[in-house]
Structures are given as structure tokens and as C-alpha cells.
Symmetry: C2
Subunit: 501 residues, 2 copies
């Protein structure tokens, strides 16, 4: 049996000098896991009340690179990415209806039917983009007892209060003993002034920044569970605190998500966790930047919001044509995860050319001639690629270095550069590991096509040999067997050709 977390030995590569940009400290820090070779990583997954959008895909692709590279370095990574199916209200400030429940009400479906429908779609899209499944993919609704217990603990520690069946986190009280705004790098006063929450007219919440850990269910609310505070449902933030603690412990290595989660969701997650365990749950907080389209934020009202499936099919007014999942993956890796990525037909068509050039070079490597000396410095190339990846997973620089190598591969192929056998082996290893394992790219051509072509070549070689020995019985037997498989063989002046009927 082959498990993701068993993919590599316990040996951590000596070249490992990985630095990660930590939102918490706003600088790049050397990566030192708490309990090597184990690494615990939690990434906030999607709220599945609609199709996952391309920005989500970019975020999860960024953490797929983190997952893959850490595994490549030799770490045993437990990667937890949740699915939010309850508690995420229309406004992040605990207002409005539950997003999944609203969709269920409008569609007259059970909320879990909505989640299942979009989860199947979400997994198909990520599978096409060649993302590895996380080690654990927990559902918020599947961890109600854990969320209730954590809420109880926060209450016991005096950092929350209950009013009429709703439990609120007391932000201002907590902020006196813990740096509540550390992650967002704001001032508490500033936040208090800035909030639009008006306490007038609602008698439940004491402080403007307070957020719900558990909410009382109104009679019409579909998703509801018993709790010590009556029938209700969990707040949005508590799920990630409960699930990350359950699967990764009270302190783990990496916590990630989109940068839009910094001011509210992640800030409150840290607060909840610290109110229980007096510390930040994660040592490294990583955040991915936004995706824009022709320089503008993707939004439904601007009409520039297309789905991943539309991007693959080209079925959207903004798209000149469809782009294959591997081209999309390559395109996204050409920007660093902390930079915005701007989508345009021009940019992705350029990426397509680059991707094809890279794949063609990879096919060339096994056929490169070898010499007694190398004019290409393969160890230096290798170092440069790892240096880029170690610099906060800098995929655009790593790709640029790999393209520097591609230039040499073509030069060797054309006899303008030379390579020793040992260097050729190293070059092959570097490209296989980096392109396939770490960057997760794969040749798009249906590899069966290549195989069928190869097998046909072999069969026709054998047939030509028996014909040269005038063994026409065997030759005809081969032709007939091929005909039964739907392959027509034609013997002509130029040699033998074949085609599918």
C-alpha cells in the first residue's frame, strides 16, 4: 500500500534551506517544523454552496505546491483541508442567512445535497488540475461535538458569554491578554472605529467586534443541533479551530488560506485557539493573493467571473477559446502565490506556448547525445531551481531557471552544447522531480497515444522482418489480427503505414 504521507523516507534533503513568508511576522523565516520529519498543515477549504471559483483553485493549487515540495524534501506531511458546509453566513460579520442553508431553501433540497453536488464538482476540477487530495478533508457539520466542546472551554476560560442561546466571543476582553490584531497588523481602536456593526437595537452582543461561537437556531433554520445552550448551529470560525486541533494538535506548523481570510476568519481562529490553549495554533501563517481578470477583480456584476469548467471549455464571452487544465496550472505557477495573478487570453496563450516548449524539451532529454565533457553546469542549474523553491516556494523563478535549462537542452540536441552521461542523468532527474513531482505538471497528450504508436511500431517491425524472410503466412496473420482490433495496415512504396478504421 502506498500512502501519500509515506511517499518519502525520513531523510530530509540536505539542500533544504526553505524559508517561508509568515504573515504573522511579515517576514521570511527559516522553516523549522515542530516535530520533524512530520509537518502539520491546515488550509481553509471552500464553502460549498456554489461552484468553486478560479480564485479558490489558485489558493488550493498554491498549497498543493507547498504539500508537494515539503514531501519532496522528505517531510511526512499531514495536510488537512476542510469543507465548510455549515455556519458560513452571507456576511462574514455573522449576519444574514447560512450560505448553504439559503441555497438549500431556494432549491428545496436538503443542505447536504447541495454540499455533495458541489463537492463532487470541486473534486473533479481539482483532479483535472492535478492537485493531490489532502490527507484529511473534514466537514464542519461532521465535527459538532468538537465545536461544542471548544466553545465550552472558551466559556470556562472567561473569554465568551452566552445570551439567549447564542455564545459570543468577547474580543475586547481577549485583546487585553493576547495580541488579537497581530495577524491583521491593525490597531484594535482602528478596528472598533471601523466596524459598521451598530449595537443599538440588538441587545445580545456586548462588543462591536464580538463574534458568534454558537448561534441559536430560529425555528425556520434547517441545520440545527442540540447543545448546552439549546438548539443551534456553530459559528463559521470555530470549525477550523476545532478540526485543526483534532487532526493536527494544539500547535502545528503551517496554516494557510486566501488573504481575504486574514482580517476576520483567521484572526478569530487564532483568538479562539489562544483562548483555549494560550498560544497561536500555527507557527507559519501563509496567505495567497488574488486572481484578477484583465486587471479587474473577478465579480459577477462585472461579468468577468468565469468558472474553471468554462475556462477549460472556452464557453464564456471573455474567453477566446478553451485552455487545458495543465496550461491553466502552468499559467498559475508563473506568478508567485503572494502576488496577484492577472488573467488575460494573451497571457494564458503565452503560457500555453511555454508549457508546450517545456514538455517538448522533457521528451528530448532521453535522446540527447552524450560527450566526454559538459558545457552545461547541471549542478548549478539544480542549485538555482532549489534556491527558488526554498525562497518561499517561488515557482516563477524556479520555472525561469528550468527554462534556462530548456535552452541548453535544445542546444545540446543541436550540437551546440555538450553533456556527459552523468550530467545527462542528473538533468533527467532534476526535470522529472521538479516538473512532475514538485510542480505537478504532466504531459497532456493522452499517453496511450504514445503507447499505441510505440506498440504499432514494434508490430510493424516484426512484420517487416518476417516479410523479408518471405514468411507471408505470419505477416498476414498479423495484418488480420490488427484488422480485428480496428487497425488497417497498408503496404506501399514508402513503407508500411497504419490507420484506425
Amino acid at each position: 500500500m502506498y500512502f501519500a504521507s509515506h511517499a518519502h523516507s525520513h531523510y530530509i534533503r540536505p539542500m533544504h534551506d526553505l524559508h517561508i513568508y509568515n504573515t504573522l511576522t511579515r517576514r521570511k523565516e527559516p522553516f523549522q517544523p515542530l516535530n520533524p520529519p512530520h509537518v502539520g498543515m491546515y488550509v481553509c477549504g471552500p464553502t460549498l454552496y456554489t461552484h468553486a471559483h478560479l480564485g479558490n483553485c489558485r489558493t488550493f493549487l498554491s498549497f498543493d505546491i507547498v504539500f508537494r515540495y515539503l514531501r519532496h524534501l522528505g517531510y511526512k506531511v499531514r495536510y488537512v483541508r476542510n469543507i465548510t458546509d455549515v455556519g458560513h453566513l452571507e456576511s462574514d460579520a455573522d449576519e444574514g442567512e447560512d450560505k448553504v442553508a439559503k441555497r438549500a431553501r431556494l432549491e428545496k433540497l436538503e443542505p447536504m445535497e447541495i454540499v455533495q453536488f458541489y463537492a463532487v464538482d470541486f473534486h473533479r476540477i481539482l483532479d483535472k488540475l492535478n492537485l493531490l487530495p489532502p490527507s484529511i478533508e473534514p466537514l464542519a457539520s461532521g465535527h459538532i461535538p468538537e465545536q461544542i466542546e471548544m466553545t465550552q472551554r472558551i466559556l470556562q476560560n472567561g473569554m465568551a458569554y452566552e445570551v439567549n442561546g447564542t455564545v459570543w466571543f468577547d474580543v475586547e476582553k481577549f485583546a487585553k491578554v493576547f495580541p488579537y490584531t497581530q495577524l491583521s497588523n491593525r490597531q484594535l481602536d482602528e478596528l472598533l472605529d471601523g466596524t459598521r456593526d451598530n449595537l443599538e437595537g440588538q441587545d445580545e452582543k456586548r462588543g462591536r467586534l464580538d463574534f458568534a461561537l454558537w448561534k441559536r437556531a430560529t425555528p425556520g433554520h434547517i441545520m440545527r443541533w442540540n447543545s448546552p445552550w439549546g438548539v443551534g448551529f456553530p459559528g463559521w470560525h470555530i470549525e477550523c479551530s476545532a478540526m485543526s486541533t483534532k487532526y493536527l494538535g494544539e500547535e502545528f506548523d503551517i496554516h494557510g488560506g486566501g488573504m481575504d481570510l486574514i482580517p476576520t476568519h483567521h484572526t478569530n481562529e487564532i483568538a479562539q485557539h489562544a483562548a483555549c490553549y494560550h498560544k497561536n495554533p500555527a507557527r507559519y501563517w501563509m496567505h495567497t493573493n488574488m486572481l484578477t481578470v484583465n486587471g479587474q477583480k473577478m465579480s459577477k456584476s462585472l461579468g468577468n467571473s468565469f468558472l474553471p469548467a468554462e475556462l477549460f471549455s472556452g464557453n464564456h464571452p471573455l474567453l477566446e477559446r478553451g485552455y487545458s487544465p495543465m496550461v491553466v496550472r502552468f499559467f498559475m505557477l508563473q506568478a508567485h502565490y503572494r502576488s496577484t495573478l492577472d488573467f488575460s487570453n494573451f497571457a494564458i496563450q503565452a503560457a500555453e506556448k511555454g508549457f508546450q516548449r517545456l514538455m517538448a524539451a522533457l521528451e528530448l532529454i532521453p535522446h540527447l547525445p552524450v560527450s566526454d565533457t559538459s558545457t552545461v553546469d547541471v549542478p548549478a542549474l539544480r542549485q538555482a531551481v532549489y534556491r527558488a523553491m526554498n525562497d518561499d516556494f517561488n515557482t516563477p523563478v524556479a520555472l525561469a531557471e528550468l527554462f534556462e535549462g530548456v535552452r541548453h537542452i535544445y542546444a545540446i540536441h543541436e550540437g551546440r552544447d555538450t553533456l556527459t552521461a552523468a550530467d545527462k542523468e542528473q538533468l533527467q532527474k532534476l526535470y522529472n522531480e521538479m516538473v512532475f513531482d514538485v510542480l505537478g505538471l504532466k504531459p497532456e497528450k493522452n499517453s496511450d497515444d504514445t503507447l499505441v504508436t510505440g506498440l504499432m511500431q514494434l508490430i510493424l517491425d516484426i512484420r517487416s522482418e518476417v516479410r523479408s524472410k518471405k514468411d507471408y503466412a505470419t505477416s498476414d496473420k498479423i495484418r488480420d489480427a490488427l484488422a480485428k482490433l480496428g487497425i488497417q495496415v497498408k503496404d506501399g512504396k514508402e513503407g508500411t503505414t497504419w490507420s484506425r478504421t
Copy 2:
């Protein structure tokens, strides 16, 4: 947006005269849903501590046909198929270690990592076999509060008792007020005599047939939750009762599973439900029969247990070669779900020919010539196909009728039969709906798998011939050429096998 349950209008086809064999009454009964056009169906899913086996696939394929045909008839089906990730002990009689926890202990992984790994694999296999995802796929571990509440209710109703943190269902007491053995069609005395459970030496369980609703967790037990009876975990049977009630209500239409579930799991599920709600949860209990291999039960000790992935690749000593997922699906549909299905290379190769003939006929239909008169009775053919499906989803008879039509399609193509334009349209509609929508077959667009298999067969035949002539040079040349294409050839006592490296 397109939801599975919205696929068809509320209109139920008038030809609908569906009868379902009900294990509960041991006869075929007309299908009358409780709340048309809605249908609720619950099927017991896999315990994901290892790869799903072929027998599982057959069961879920059978219910995929039920799901598809009911939707085709116009019902709005909510199809719930669970995943068991906790509570299923090594022995169905509540003995031994939890199956998932044991695997987790042996692999030194979090139980949910085991479940995720096998769930991804399970979904990939079912996807290849073109099974539709169920409407809801709940996890046992995700419904602990619901299971605790149901256990409390059974205790309140006096049908269970707690001893040292474990809650037992009192079977003999329950059997006095409800027909406990109705589903298994046995006598209680017989069961009491037959059980191997010896009450001597264990002081907790009062009756030999009593089963656990909640089990006290020993200190080393990995999966554990708080409960009114201390730290523990749910029994295996209670999850299905809790989840079916949550998503389908106190009474729903169809409950299904493999026939091995009848005597214990389903019998106890009915008992738990009836102890709460004084009725059987489902009106129709459907059970699928077993899959055998060359006449024998599949078992690891007999060495005749191959995985679905091995069946597709041919990478198992019992398999002459690989068979495509659609051929496997077609093969399975050629037996009725309540009959045993015997696997042999001969039988599946015959199925492959049949499948290809059917698909070729479907391609012919649009190109058939039309005439002023029909010599083929299309309405009668249509009726015959529906009659078969209405007779307890009799797919082998439906396929036989469709092949009767195939004979005519070829005859029309060759000018020996004639068809009007209107009949041609009806014929097209019948085959599209039945073959694609209801039977869920699809053209193997990528017929490359079959082609590769066929080409390999040819190459290995040639190689075996040259070897018999002691031409080992050619034989080795072939082996080396295949190795370059990533194909490994193994010569053994049983013949030559191949696999992709």
C-alpha cells in the same frame, strides 16, 4: 444549475408499473412511494479501511440502476449512501478491534487519513464504472450527536441498558413487541441456539443476541467521543439508523445493501429504528446477491480476490488480460441483481463482444435508411424493454430485448428490414434513454485501453511463437522494445503476463 434530483419533471411516466422484490415480504410488490414524486433511498456503503472490492462495486452498481431508472420514470430521488469510518468491528458480532482504527494503528496514521485515502480510490473506481454520485454521502463519524440521541431514545423506550459505559440493545425484550426476525425469516429460538456468543466470562451483555449501540472506549482506542455514558464510540448498526432518519425521515421508501447484511446489520437497524419510532424505517428492502469467481466465493485465502483496478489492468494471475470499465459494467448488468454473478475470463470476453456489438449498433441508428413502412415493431420492442425493467429492474432481460432490436438494426442496415422515419426516431430515443441514461453505459471513447490490450495480446502471441521455435534473440528483442515503452513482461509457469511500469 442542474441537480440530480431535478433531472426530470414531476410527471411520472404512465407506462410505469414497477414491481420490486421486497426481502421483508419475500415477494415482488408494486412500487408505491410514500410521497410521490419524491423517493427516499438509503444504501449501506463501504467500510473504508481497505480498497473497495468487486462485490461492493456490484452492489453499488445495482443501486445505481435503481437510482437511474427511478429518475428516468420521473421520480425525484434522494439517494443516501453512507461511508462507514467508525464502529465497524472486525467481527460483525461486536467483537475485535475497529476496522479503521486497526488499520490506522498498523499504518501509524490518523484514522481519517485511512478513510480519505480509500475514499478517493473508491470514488475513482465508481466514477470509471460510470456510477452517479449519490445525493448525500454521509460519514458515520460525522453524525455522533445523532447516534447518541438515538441511543438515548432507545434507552428511554426501555429497549436498551447500560453497563459500564457500554449501551446494549435488548433483543429478546424487543422481540416480544416487534417481529425482530422478519427480515431474516428465521426463528428467534433458532438464532439463540445458533449464536456462538457465550455469556460466560463476560458480565456486561445480558442476552446472547444483544448488540452494542455505544461502546466504552478502552484507553488505547483512537476514535473516541464524549457521551452521557462516558468516552466511547458508536456501534456499527446505529450509524445507518441515525443517518437514514436524519436525511430521509422516520419512514422512507427503499433500503438496500448486499444480502450479507440481512441477518445482522439490517435486522438490527430495523430493531433500533422500531425501538424509537415503532415501525420499520423502509417499505422496500432490496438486497443484492454475491459475486463469485470461476464458481467460488472471492476470498483472499483462495487467491481469487482481485481488485477493480486489477480487473481493469489485467494485472492479476487469474486474469487473462484487462477489461475496460464499461465492459465490466455491461458484464455485471447481464445478471439480475438478485442472482449470483460468476466471473470468468470466458464470460467477460463474451460480454465484451456483446458490448461492442451494442455500441456499434447504436452508431448505426442515425444512418439507417427510412422507408414508407416498418417491418420492425418498435412500440412492441419498447414495451418489452420497459416490461423487463419494471419487473424488479431485470437488466439481463432488458438487454436481451435490446439485442433483439440490435438484430433488426443490422437487418435494416443491410436492407432485410425496413423502418419508417417516425419509427426510426422512436428507436433512437429508446436506445439513447435505455442504454445511456438507464443502464449508464457509454461508448468507450477512449478505446485505447482495449486497443493496447489487443495489441499486447498480439505481440505476446508472436513472442510465444518465436520462443517455441527457440528464436530467443527475437523474443528478447521484443521484451526490450516493450520495456522501453514502459511495459514489463513476466514469463511464469501460468504463461506470460504484462504490466505497465
